[in-house]
């Protein structure tokens, strides 16, 4: 036991940033020796997702996969992290908290590029993670911070997906590609934000279960509505988009979403939203303009869902209404509750975990959706607010707030 404790404290003494950079270095090394090592270990190809997919194809590959992970990832990451620790610690002391976030963001971006590299599959996973993160944190704004119950997030995603796609395929000239991509995404987000009003305005008078029903109805109406518009393909779907979504773009939008929502939540307006969750009547009595806050929260939430939708559409290159049903909304809910309510860090964790989980379980096909609800149930029974409910990683809290609190509680 004591050995275990010693190891644990030794490992946790190394800063997270060092691990991150170490992983980046390991990925860089993998670029050169990945293939040779894989074939040396008897693996048919270089493992794309830590060998999980390969092992599912053939259980006999498990020892080789584990060996690969150790040789290429775990050991180099640990060694590099150890070596970098003194440098990193010096850096953490020098840098202000604002800059610290920037450092983490840059490091993460670098690692994503290095690991994702030229592998189609890895790129897709990373993009999906980012998209899921945007969906998760935008929903968390309404469900976690404002304490409402929005169950129709996929509808807004669909609005954004369709608007962005229609713009890049029919309206903007194809040659402009990446130049118009942000515009198309923003337009999709704006459309989704307007759709968000469908839920925001009823929320003035209606709360709780009844509002949940309205969000559901909105989701269905959007989905059914799209199905009934033959011009854009109806239930057959829409396609023709160029593959504009890539790691840099997803990263950019993810970071933007994170920063904007984090800033909002820390501000007096964000506190107003939290007040609505706690006690709406008291909030009004304390001068909080609850109507305005509700509109802002709902519309911001659906705006970013729309952005996620646009990114999604230009990743898969084909969308149809049945993508944006209750099942997808449920996925978003699972991410929020898995990661943690009212927690940006939780949204990061939830989105990443969920994306990988879905990929890991993909070969199981139907069993996937048998296991996921059970996992969710087990999760909720153990900790009903989610893994990181109401808590945040240190680097997300600006110095002003940290001084006020002196801890990671929120």
């Amino acid at each position: 036991m004591a050995q275990w404790q010693k190891m644990r404290s030794h490992l946790s003494a190394i800063p997270v940033l060092a691990y991150l950079l170490g992983f980046g270095i390991a990925s860089a090394i993998e670029l050169f020796i990945g293939y040779p090592v894989a074939s040396l270990l008897g693996l048919p190809t270089m493992p794309t997702l830590f060998g999980i997919i390969l092992v599912q194809q053939s259980l006999a590959l498990l020892p080789s996969a584990i060996a690969y992970d150790l040789l290429i990832y775990l050991v180099p990451t640990y060694i590099a992290a150890r070596l970098l620790t003194p440098l990193v610690q010096k850096l953490l002391q020098k840098v202000s908290s604002q800059r610290l976030m920037l450092v983490y963001v840059l490091a993460l971006f670098l690692v994503a590029l290095l690991w994702g590299g030229f592998h189609e599959y890895r790129t897709m996973i990373l993009c999906l993670m980012g998209i899921n993160f945007i969906l998760c944190i935008s929903l968390n704004l309404v469900n976690g911070y404002m304490g409402e119950f929005s169950v129709g997030h996929a509808g807004f995603m669909g609005v954004g997906a369709y608007i962005a796609s229609i713009l890049t395929v029919w309206v903007f000239p194809r040659s402009l590609g990446h130049l118009v991509f942000p515009l198309a995404l923003l337009a999709g987000g704006a459309g989704a934000a307007i759709a968000g009003l469908l839920v925001a305005i009823p929320s003035f008078k209606i709360r709780g279960d009844y509002l949940a029903i309205i969000t559901l109805a909105t989701n269905f109406i959007i989905k059914n509505g799209i199905e009934n518009i033959e011009r854009i393909g109806g239930s057959r779907g829409f396609m023709g988009m160029a593959k504009l979504t890539n790691v840099p773009w997803v990263f950019f939008w993810s970071v933007l979403t994170l920063v904007l929502i984090r800033n909002f939540v820390l501000s007096p307006y964000g506190r107003g939203v939290i007040a609505i969750r706690e006690d709406e009547i008291a909030a009004e009595a304390m001068t909080v303009n609850t109507r305005r806050m509700k509109i802002i929260a709902f519309c911001t939430s659906s705006f970013f869902a729309g952005i996620a939708g646009g990114l999604f559409a230009h990743l898969l290159l084909y969308i149809n209404p049945s993508t944006f049903t209750l099942l997808k909304s449920t996925e978003c809910l699972v991410m929020v509750y898995l990661g943690g309510m009212a927690s940006i860090s939780g949204s990061l964790v939830g989105a990443a975990t969920f994306t990988i989980l879905l990929e890991m379980l993909r070969p199981l096909e139907v069993w996937k959706w048998v296991l996921i609800p059970l996992l969710l149930l087990v999760m909720l029974l153990r900790r009903h607010t989610g893994l990181m409910g109401f808590r945040e990683f240190q680097f997300l809290i600006p110095r002003e707030e940290a001084e006020v609190y002196g801890s990671t509680s929120h």
């Binding site: 904007l260 800033n263 909002f264 820390l266 501000s267 007096p268 307006y269 964000g270 506190r271 107003g272 939290i274 007040a275 706690e278 006690d279 009547i281 008291a282 909030a283 009004e284 009595a285 304390m286 001068t287 909080v288 303009n289 609850t290 109507r291 802002i296 109401f390 600006p398 002003e400 006020v404 609190y405 002196g406 801890s407 509680s409």
Partner: protein
Amino acid sequence: MALLHINGLTHYFGGLRAVYDFNLALEEGELIGLIGPNGAGKTTVFNLITGIYRPTKGTIQFNGQNLVGLQPHQIAARGICRTFQTIRLFNNVSVLDNVRIAFYSQVRSSLLDAFFRMPHLVSEDKALTREAYRLLEIFNLERYAHELAMNLPYGEQKRVEIARALATKPRLLLLDEPAAGMNPGEIDRLMDLIQRIRQEFGLTIFLIEHQMRLVMRICRHIKVMDFGETIAEGTPEEIRTNPRVLQAYLGEEVE
């Protein structure tokens, strides 16, 4: 001119008459009490003043401006703040944040400033945090600043509610049964507190209370309600001996 002017205030909930012909001319700096048996309509009067309900009939004027039809947060921003009969704190939020939230209407930075965390907003936030902290100090609550509001003992929670209300910089403070659940010692301290904040913050105070000790001692003018109607009005001595008041509280058996 009276700070708060209520004329012919009447309110029906469906067929039930909760308040009938309530009138009040409250001068600045006064401290008046509203008493009456449970269900008399006292809290409803508060709810009508603060805009939670829209009165069926009657006018409410504050500082010369009409309040009827305004949203509660607008009324609160104009300078009327209240506490609640059952404590309504923001439970899962720290005590400091409870108070910080009440500064909402005083924030000048825009929403865009918030999204991009402009220095303008950061410094404003710092300033209001300092003010919130000072308020807590006045109430001897600063040691609870980072504690979740729901973890505090009952008496402290009541004081947090008052501190929070003061953050809105009100001119008129409505206290709904501030002494509920307190023992005589606590009530004495509460009385001192009320007098103190009235002086320090230049407040006009209108309070609902059941504890006669408190009301009789600090209020100079008292209104009595029963079944929605005002049945008596006057100084504590007048009210104490008023037979209608006794009858309302104790029932027909009193001679």
